[in-house]
């Protein structure tokens, strides 16, 4: 029997009992729609959570701090790992790693024209900025080889205040209004830092802002980024021991800030003053991040990434999806029973007809194919209509309920509560067809077993 004939015949048979077929289909429609809508809500929740997390820091970046890796009980495991060029070289060859950048970090008082503020400056390997997902809203990223050019986070402008203007308004006002980040572009910022051992020893550095970061990554919005060498130079100056004194010894420190330096370094170890403050590792995707991050911890590094926290979220959302999908699944299961019931009834009605086609040469395979096709068609139609209903329901949920949630979420980006990805849409229809075939299996076998004699007996 040819495939198109099976389809045509099955379709014809179905529409002999329109009402019954439609009602059976309706069961599948509701079943499919409930599964799809439930799962889409689970997916929507997960996406919203992930998006929110990504705003707090990239999911593809691992940050490695110096020092020990601590296990869950809080006791140190392994020895403290140093962060130097050897480490960078070691990290670069780990599979899944796209880019590695060491970082130096310094803080200092800053001046922007008449305004003053406090600046957190991070020196990075400028070659890796793009790989590290730096993207500018205005201007450009500092190019490798440039000196004292920086890119500033979108909130940096708000770190500066005009003391005189504030005073004239009567005191310190903390609630200064938000300023336009673009104002900072091409401005010169002067940063003053003092030597740790000798706070009287102050140096000023001038930076030119060549770009403003977009605000996708809130982790970076309060910092400025420049070249590794520049920041190292500032840091070297800050950590420089006062002449004649032994480096890092607290007793030699004239002021209380002294111990800050010495406590950071273990005097028994070799000179660690050139070690990086931290190292950033960019991986290909979230899955790689998780893998690499746990590998680094195994190697004894103090590694952390946002993706690590993602696991908990994923586990939660999997549970939510399982529960929601299960509710939908029950509905579809009931629909499957409906299909079986319809097919069994249909076989009772068509006993004679089944006998006839067997007598005139329909093979077992033909009879089975016809009945399975009928059941599959019910599943297919129900699946397609159910998917249509799901899109409608999804739209309604997103427009009505989405509005309320957005109001409560302090201007987060437009997140959808219900998301139907393509795989879910296709999977739902395929699943509905599968359900149809599975439900038709028992009736089809009954049809096969019918004796042609009983069927054609002259009653």
């Amino acid at each position: 029997m040819r495939k198109q004939d099976i389809v045509i015949m099955a379709n014809k048979n179905l529409w002999r009992r329109k009402a019954r077929t439609i009602l059976t289909c309706l069961g599948v429609v509701i079943g499919t729609a409930s599964i799809v809508v439930m799962l889409s809500i689970g997916i929507g929740l997960k996406e919203t959570m992930e998006r929110d997390m990504a705003r707090w820091g990239s999911l593809n970046i691992i940050r490695i701090y110096p020092g020990m890796q601590y296990d869950r009980e809080g006791s140190p495991s392994g020895e403290a790992k140093r962060l130097n060029d050897e480490t960078v070289a070691e990290l670069k060859v780990i599979s899944g790693v796209v880019a590695v950048s060491p970082a130096f970090e310094v803080n200092g008082e800053a001046r922007l024209g008449r305004k003053q503020g406090w600046l957190n400056i991070i020196g990075m390997d400028l070659n890796t900025l793009e790989d590290m997902e730096f993207s500018v809203e205005h201007g450009r990223l500092p190019s490798p080889g440039e000196s004292f050019t920086i890119v500033a986070g979108s909130q940096v402008i708000n770190q500066f205040w005009d003391e005189r203007a504030a005073r004239s308004r009567g005191g310190f006002d903390y609630e200064h209004e938000q300023q336009d980040p673009a104002e900072l572009l091409n401005q010169r910022i002067t940063v003053s830092v003092n030597n740790y051992s000798n706070p009287q020893n102050i140096k000023k550095y001038n930076f030119t802002v060549v770009g403003i970061l977009d605000d996708k990554n809130m982790d970076r919005s309060w910092q400025v980024y420049g070249s590794l060498d520049d920041i190292k130079r500032i840091r070297d100056f800050m950590m420089q021991a006062t002449s004649g004194g032994e480096s890092g010894s607290p007793s030699q420190m004239p002021f209380k800030e002294g111990p800050m330096v010495s406590s950071r370094r273990d005097p028994r170890q070799e000179d660690t003053s050139n070690d990086y403050n931290y190292i950033l590792v960019r991986t290909k995707d979230v899955a790689q991040t998780k893998k690499v991050s746990s590998e680094l911890r195994e190697r004894g590094y103090n590694a952390y990434s946002m993706a690590d926290s993602l696991e908990g979220i994923e586990k939660t959302s999997r549970t939510i999806q399982a529960v929601l999908g299960g509710i939908g699944g029950i509905t579809l299961f009931v629909a499957a029973l409906g299909i079986t019931n319809t097919m069994v009834m249909s076989i009772y009605e068509r006993t004679r007809e089944i006998g006839i086609i067997k007598v005139i040469g329909a093979s077992f395979a033909d009879v089975r194919a016809i009945f399975l096709m009928e059941a599959a068609l019910i599943g297919f139609m129900g699946g397609i209509l159910g998917l249509g209903l799901s899109y409608l329901a999804s739209y309604v949920v997103n427009t009505i309920a989405g509005g309320y949630i957005q109001q409560g979420m302090m201007g987060g980006p437009g997140g959808s509560i219900s998301v139907i990805p393509l795989w879910l849409a296709l999977g739902a229809v395929a699943f509905a067809i599968f359900i149809g075939i599975a439900s038709g299996y028992y009736p089809a076998n009954r049809a096969i077993k019918l004796s042609p004699i009983v069927a054609i007996r002259n009653e």
Partner: protein, 243 residues
């Protein structure tokens, strides 16, 4: 001549509750190619059972049925459908057309299962239905046809894939006498024209008279088996002896 159907010591017993009823008691019968055989018997004589066994719709309790060299006992239930499709056409008392299909669709049904493309089988079906005098009834459902017309569709369906043997179970049992004559003439002439073998079961001596040979069954035994000719009612179109 080699028989096309050989029945050897066919015994068929049914279990009716606790009782075992013997329907056929060791039937031996040879049917030859091109023969029109009428099996005559009252209800309960076992004639329909014998036809069902010969057509492979049922299995004998004992004995062999050999069609064109194929022992039906050795053909699995699964393959039997294909065997029937190739060798056997059926005409029933109650026509047994599929009510949801048109006359044409019913007639070409065996070709659908054979996997013949739609255009080809429809062409064949149309030609055959025209021969059956149903040229203007092709798109009608069985419910829109008279008994005689339905039986013509049923004959067309039996003939469509040129089977070697046609089985007819009381083909005129539900028809009036005028239509009965029409149908029997149509059936026998078509069978003869294409050199097929016809095995027809009836309780009606007038119907049986269309056969070249009449086998009379009583209580599961062959009571009488002789060439037709002794009867005083010859069929209209005249008889040729089997070659």
């Amino acid at each position: 001549m080699k028989p096309i159907i050989q029945a050897e010591k066919i015994i068929k017993k049914y279990r009716m509750g606790t009782e075992v009823v013997s329907v056929l008691n060791s039937i031996d019968l040879n049917i030859y190619p091109g023969e029109i055989l009428a099996i005559l018997g009252t209800s309960g004589s076992g004639k329909t059972t014998f036809l069902n066994l010969a057509a492979g719709l049922e299995r004998p309790t004992k004995g062999d049925i050999i069609i064109d060299g194929h022992n039906l006992n050795k053909i699995s239930e699964k393959k039997m459908a294909v065997f029937r499709r190739r060798y056997i056409g059926f005409v029933f008392q109650l026509y047994n057309l599929v009510p949801s299909l048109t006359a044409l669709e019913n007639a070409v049904l065996p070709l659908i299962f054979e996997g013949v493309p739609a255009r080809e089988r429809d062409k064949k079906g149309r030609e055959l239905l025209k021969e059956m005098g149903l040229g203007n009834r092709m798109r009608h459902k069985p419910s829109e046809l008279s008994g005689g017309q339905r039986q013509r569709v049923s004959i067309a369906r039996a003939m469509i894939n040129n089977p070697r043997i046609i089985f007819a179970d009381e083909p005129t049992g539900n028809l009036d006498s005028k239509t009965t004559v029409e149908i029997l003439n149509l059936l026998t002439s078509t069978v003869r024209a294409s050199g097929q073998t016809l095995m027809m079961v009836t309780h009606d001596i007038k119907v049986a008279d269309y056969g070249d040979r009449i086998v009379e069954m009583v209580d599961g035994n062959i009571f009488n088996d002789e060439p037709n000719g002794s009867s005083g009612l010859p069929p209209e179109e005249g008889k040729e002896k089997k070659s």
